[in-house]
Symmetry: D2
Subunit: 338 residues, 4 copies
């Protein structure tokens, strides 16, 4: 922690800050410069972070030096994590995992049909929402537990793993029963109580980045799960909110190499929510792979026109198959496979 | 709903869309123009909103006409709502309500002391967090139920109402016992399950705007509470996230006249979180009043240097008193009082 | 400048950095900590800023300590600047200056009529565009020099000062002939060549903040003009670009107290462009005054329905008069006058 | 253009709007709905755009239907433009063009050395700034005409084309003499007078997207050049400004497929400015190619530690060579070459 002092700070104010540090058992040092003086304190940054140092008289600004996350950092664990999503299907290595399926589980037959389709095209996980976070209280909110059952049935029939979104702490036991990978949606990335609870399970957690959250905040949310005792966190970039309105969100592919340079956790990209336009999903999927992602999460629907939600961004099965074929070529070009 | 068609749409595709509308019992009409044709459908927009019309072949874009919220709108209820926060203390009328207190309840004595201080200065509500949403799992997370008890005790002693943040669905009964106004924090503005639950209580709900949420989304979250049966929603602007880093957030005072033009719900402004700098709180409080807000939520701490959280943005009691005095003058200038 | 080193930096890399500093005649010091070491260099930050220190091997991040602007800072000039806009009409003191007029000068009669109207209502400056920056090459681009002549004529008749936007370096002599205050629009805030040229004139410069520029960048653009030798810079907040679409821009009133805490330059607020909605102009004008601004720039048009541009955000003369009356009350409440 | 009317609009107000349209020679039609009525006007949208329709009494909102740009649109020219950058070197076809070089031309020898290096690695254009837009008036501003001469000399020696930034209208003749492709920087994307002037030249224009400009605005700036008579516009995505601070900007690769779906103009990506971190340049370059770009603009410097500017984001020659090799593999995977 570096405390930059105002040019007109008094000797008394300087001593006040130094005393405060001493009382906390820290070892500050003062460096006097021509235009500004600074006080440096190295180590135990957590304790300092809690202090409102910028409110102290004579302080101009406070600069953090250490990263606030530990377990999620590449310094803590120097090799990429390979996470077993279930049945030995791992993410984080050479193989790029495709997660695909409809936005929402609409009925039993559709989810089983789609499961077979995406399985045949190369997916390893079936995605689909049983509980849907909808902006409007009047929109379809999902089939609930019934939807989870249908997904579990699709798993039986196809061997795909099941990933779906948990919105409510009270449903964790239900999810542990039916689901392989628990998804935490973008809207709940900072729902810390929910993060604490999934930190207590042993299920892998696919954590989506909030639409207005920095990469550091994203890793801090991962840290909540890791600190709870669950080491199986998969990060998912799904678009951030910017001024641009042509796309639903701005898929931030910079997050892929950036997260890889900061953390050992696998990174998945969701180009369907990230762009909101099915016509852009293939291009952005290929780009995500070239950027170094470990997996893709893609919306596929046999009949987008009749989808209960997000039909605008869903691929038809044939387009999805073609996309996987093209993505595989890019994967090979960067030394990966699908 | 206006469906703008691509210039090269085929007759067949047009008919396909018209048929779809007909089957849904809607009455579409086609207007053919020189450069573009459009299909208009008026009424029953909710049903249309669910349709992925932009995914239909030949469709260029779809423009919504109706606002997606109803109960929150000024059209639904043409006069401003006066909400009883408890004991006959109302918000939404001529009187501007001051809510003040520390970021977090740190111990019994401090919250009781501050309560008396802010009461004397003109506040009607005591704010203070017992459950704290913290970015880091390693930061102080609040005193929990103990904190609520201390706040309730402060109410007994001072007559102030108590407003504090609810983060966990499982704690609603506890909040109903101790609290007058339930606060939903910015991070939970889109935690729809939590909104549904507070929609079932009769307690007033102070709903904070998410840092990256539009005013329309903000009103949709209010709609969740209203649709649940609880008419007592108070909106709170507390800063949005932009590219600017000088302030912690960008307090969006435009939200005040904008929300007043769209909704009947009272609007509170939180300049402490909105700016993150105590030196800006007074100026932005006065500005908020001049812009037409119904209340202020301000952080006050007797000793910000020792605050457990957010000390940088807390006012000393004397500064708070002076601020209320200056705010009162602005209130009088715009025909209100404090 | 603080250079934070990676935990795994080698002794050789540390020495390489220390050597580099020495060669530049700087005096670095090394502080070794438990988790990170840092190198501090105080003074001569300009020289360091040019160095790509983050590209040096073993460097994790570089933190600037000093503000990059000097002449614009409150440290350089500790009292607020009172700037003479012409004829002894000063801005930056107790009196709040109203600048008003149409978006564009449309013809001689209209600008003279409006001038009298805004003068009678309390304005000291006439605003109006003769050269218009338009997003579309097919839109009305302004009357050019003819427009400037009409404004100068309006000045003769009313005694108002004239402020209008300069877009093209080649027109500076023309502006010096007709205009009192040269406006640099938001789109040209980072047109550094234009800033250098107006730095050579003696005319006051009203510099608008770019829609995506931080306050620091804004002050750096002011620094360009000041460094050129022209001390008469007036800052103007006119809305930034965020994700919100209800308003045309997000008028950032935080900029008012923030700029006042950083700089001695006067601050004007433009609520017409800032909101893009005439219905919000009065509320945001009053808020701007309560926040501490030194002036307002407001669009007024006798017949907004026929305006050549920006009619949506223009006030009718009667609304403008009423607004000034209400603003005056707020000004008195904060110890200012209009 | 669709004019959505307020529910409480009067018959008189409706007629007033219809009359206005009639007087302009337009043919409006009224559609009355249950909750809202609308007035539609198809064709001649340019004329309507100038009207402040949202300011008319009884109007709730106005929705544009047509795109405001024409010459830049894919509807106007249905096949991708192949632009000759000079000497028959075309961009916009199967071949991906690499433009590389230092941020700034620092001296004769360095630019000639780098030219040979990037040529050998596969580049077709030499980039380098002779006139530099710098945030600080105290930073190195470029060598000016001398820098252009050195670049021209490098062209003689290597056969590379020269692309460099024009900031000042007064320098156009100088650029026409020395330069192959005129670059308009992000800060000048909305400097419409500069766009008009380069619209009069015959040199290809590489137009960079402003950091806070939508794709529509970007294409409107291209339209300024095209409307001036110069059909040779190359679009360049170079990062937008968001809340994220880890990267200097947020490189928006969504722009690549989006622009390709809207326009016939070639699209180049600049990952150096887009990320501000040399460690991310390779990954984002490969991603840009996979997303479908037509060219890359990359900063290369033989000794980034001594670079006059932007050393943090410059690649060493060896890293650049390796990057081109890896990019070529991705290019082949998507049916392109380098």
């Amino acid at each position: 922690m570096i405390i930059v002092l105002k040019p007109n700070i008094t000797q008394e104010q300087v001593e006040h800050i130094m005393d405060k540090m001493d009382k906390l058992g820290l070892k500050p040092w003062l460096s006097e410069g021509v235009e500004r003086s600074i006080i440096g304190v190295i180590g135990e940054e957590d304790m300092l972070r809690a202090l409102p140092l910028e409110g102290f008289p004579g302080v101009e600004q406070v600069l953090a030096i250490l990263k606030p996350y530990k377990l999620a950092s590449l310094e803590y664990k120097k090799k990429p994590s390979h996470i077993d999503m279930g049945g030995g299907v791992k993410i984080g290595g050479k193989h790029i995992s495709i997660m695909a399926g409809p936005c929402a589980v609409e009925n039993r037959d559709m989810i089983i049909d789609i499961a077979q389709i995406v399985k045949d095209a190369g997916a390893v996980c079936l995605r689909g929402g049983a509980f849907k976070p909808r902006t409007s209280p009047y929109s379809f909110q999902g089939l609930g537990e019934e939807g989870l059952k249908y997904m579990a049935e699709a798993r039986e029939k196809t061997g795909l793993l099941v990933v779906t979104e948990l919105m409510d702490i009270r449903n964790i036991a239900m999810f542990e029963k039916y689901v392989d990978v628990i998804q935490i949606g973008a809207r709940n990335m900072s729902n810390f109580n929910l993060l604490k609870e999934v930190g207590k399970t042993t299920k892998p957690v696919l954590l989506k980045r909030g639409i207005a959250n920095t990469l550091e905040e994203f890793l801090m949310s991962a840290e909540y799960v890791l600190a709870g005792g669950n080491p199986n966190v998969i990060l998912c970039e799904r678009g951030i909110r910017t001024f641009e309105t042509f796309t639903r969100n701005t898929l931030d592919l910079n997050a892929v190499p950036a997260l890889k340079s900061l953390s050992h956790l696998p990174v998945v990209v969701d180009p369907s929510h990230g762009t909101g336009r099915w016509g852009m999903v293939e291009a952005m999927s290929m780009a995500a792979i070239a950027a170094g992602c470990d997996g893709l999460m893609v919306e596929v629907h046999p009949n987008p026109e009749d989808a209960f939600s997000d039909g605008d961004q869903s691929l038809l099965p044939k387009k999805f198959e073609a996309m996987v074929t093209r993505c595989r070529k890019v994967a090979h070009a960067v030394g990966r496979d699908i």
